[in-house]
């Protein structure tokens, strides 16, 4: 049985990734600090871990959950992330640090701690963001997601040929979080997307599933933008 670990998996894109991976025969370990991870995991017969990935104890819980599956992971999906948007003049250092600690630091630490346990030929998929190309009010988030890109490139080289490490960079995706965006702003964002619609969580999940699969066996160190063409538009 293949095992996949997905962080930030209680809802939204992370849960959709987990649900999609069940179709590929993975046994899932769902990680989230959100207590709803229990119900989400139950709905797809997965193992929940309510843990903070930025906390060493939380990461120990994840390793323990993987051991309880009596196998080694084949795929690690680093999806957990947060935003604390503000123009740079209003951005605080605590929020700058927090965003980078969760989005980048925890991704680095969890991957470093799990890499040796991932089976030969396995894969890591990091969820970056199209914001790594720049976005207003997201200096902290852009740095964290650009950092994930740098991390991805470096880890791909250092873990080759045993593991593949890639990233997906989602654009504007319709989730609970983006539903809160005012309609006027939302319309303006969509007007700049060549495919003229927001992405769906399943669009990201399909990209992750592909990068994690043997169909992408010759792909490593790459960033796949899933943004409806916005990175060129």
């Amino acid at each position: 049985m293949k095992i996949a670990v997905v962080t930030g998996a209680a809802r939204g894109i992370g849960f959709e990734i987990a649900r999609r991976l069940t179709k590929d025969g993975y046994r899932l370990v769902l990680v989230d600090v959100d207590p709803r991870v229990g119900d989400s995991a139950a709905s797809i017969d997965a193992t929940p871990v309510k843990a903070d990935i930025a906390d060493p104890e939380g990461r120990a819980q994840i390793r323990s959950a993987i051991r309880s599956e009596e196998g080694q992971p084949t795929l690690l999906v680093n999806n957990a992330g947060i935003t604390r948007d503000a123009l740079i003049g209003d951005m605080t250092e605590p929020n700058f640090r927090l965003v980078n600690r969760i989005n980048l630091g925890a991704t680095f630490e969890l991957t470093s701690e799990l890499a040796d346990e991932i089976v030969d030929g396995g894969a890591v998929v990091n969820i970056s963001s199209r914001a790594y190309l720049g976005n207003v009010g997201q200096f902290n988030y852009a740095i964290s997601k650009g950092g994930v890109v740098g991390l991805t490139r470096s880890l791909a080289l250092s873990h080759a040929p045993r593991l593949r490490v890639n990233a997906v960079a989602p654009g504007f995706i319709a989730t609970d979080m983006t539903d809160a965006v005012p309609a006027r702003v939302r319309d303006r964002i969509i007007s700049r997307i060549p495919l003229q619609r927001p992405g769906r969580p399943i669009d990201i999940a399909e990209a992750v599933a592909w990068l994690g699969s043997d169909q992408a066996a010759y792909v490593t160190g790459q960033v796949l933008p899933c943004c409806g063409g916005r990175s060129h538009g």
Binding site: L87, I88, G89, M91, E93, F96, R97, N100, R101, L104, G105, F108, E109, S112, A131, Y132, L133, G134, N135, V136, G137, Q138, F139, N140, A142, I143, S144, K145, G146, G147, V148, V149, G150, L151, T152, R153, S154, L155, A156, L157, S158, G221, V223
Partner: protein, 149 residues
């Protein structure tokens, strides 16, 4: 320009680059530390970049980050690569955010065999022309044949 650099030789030549003066309004050259192995020191490094950048931007100064080309390409330890690529994304975000205010932010990526004087010359050129606003300007040849982030 204000200069944050550990290498004394680089600091000396960069101090003469761009606008004279060390006030935040005169701009910032932030040379990223390398040899990062732990997250805590990496977070401190990024936080220092943030603090100095915020201060510089508030005063209307230009922001220049200097990183190793090898780090930007991912050919270094992971956290050095993360800082280099992260600062590039920060420069991009800042350039967009400050577009209506004539803001300027860029990254100079430097190969290991490039002389410090060339780095200072590049900073002079970039700040004077506002070239490579929100993008990387590469010195050296390490990047040839490779994709930048």
């Amino acid at each position: 320009m204000r200069v944050r650099a550990d290498d004394p030789q680089l600091k000396e030549v960069l101090t003469g680059a761009g606008r004279a003066g060390k006030d935040p309004r005169d701009g910032l050259v932030f040379v990223a530390r390398t040899g990062l192995r732990e997250w805590a020191e990496t977070e401190d490094e990024l936080a220092q970049a943030f603090d100095m950048t915020r201060e510089t931007v508030a005063a209307g100064g230009a922001v220049v980050y200097v990183v190793r080309s090898a780090a930007l390409l991912g050919r270094t330890e992971p956290l050095d690569a993360a800082v280099a690529a992260g600062l590039l994304s920060g420069a991009r975000a800042l350039a967009l955010e400050r577009r209506k205010h004539n803001g300027y932010s860029t990254v100079v990526a430097v190969a290991d065999d490039v002389e410090p004087k060339s780095v200072a010359d590049a900073v002079d050129l970039l700040v004077a022309t506002r070239g490579a606003n929100g993008q990387a300007f590469v010195l050296g040849e390490e990047h040839l044949g490779a994709a930048l982030p």
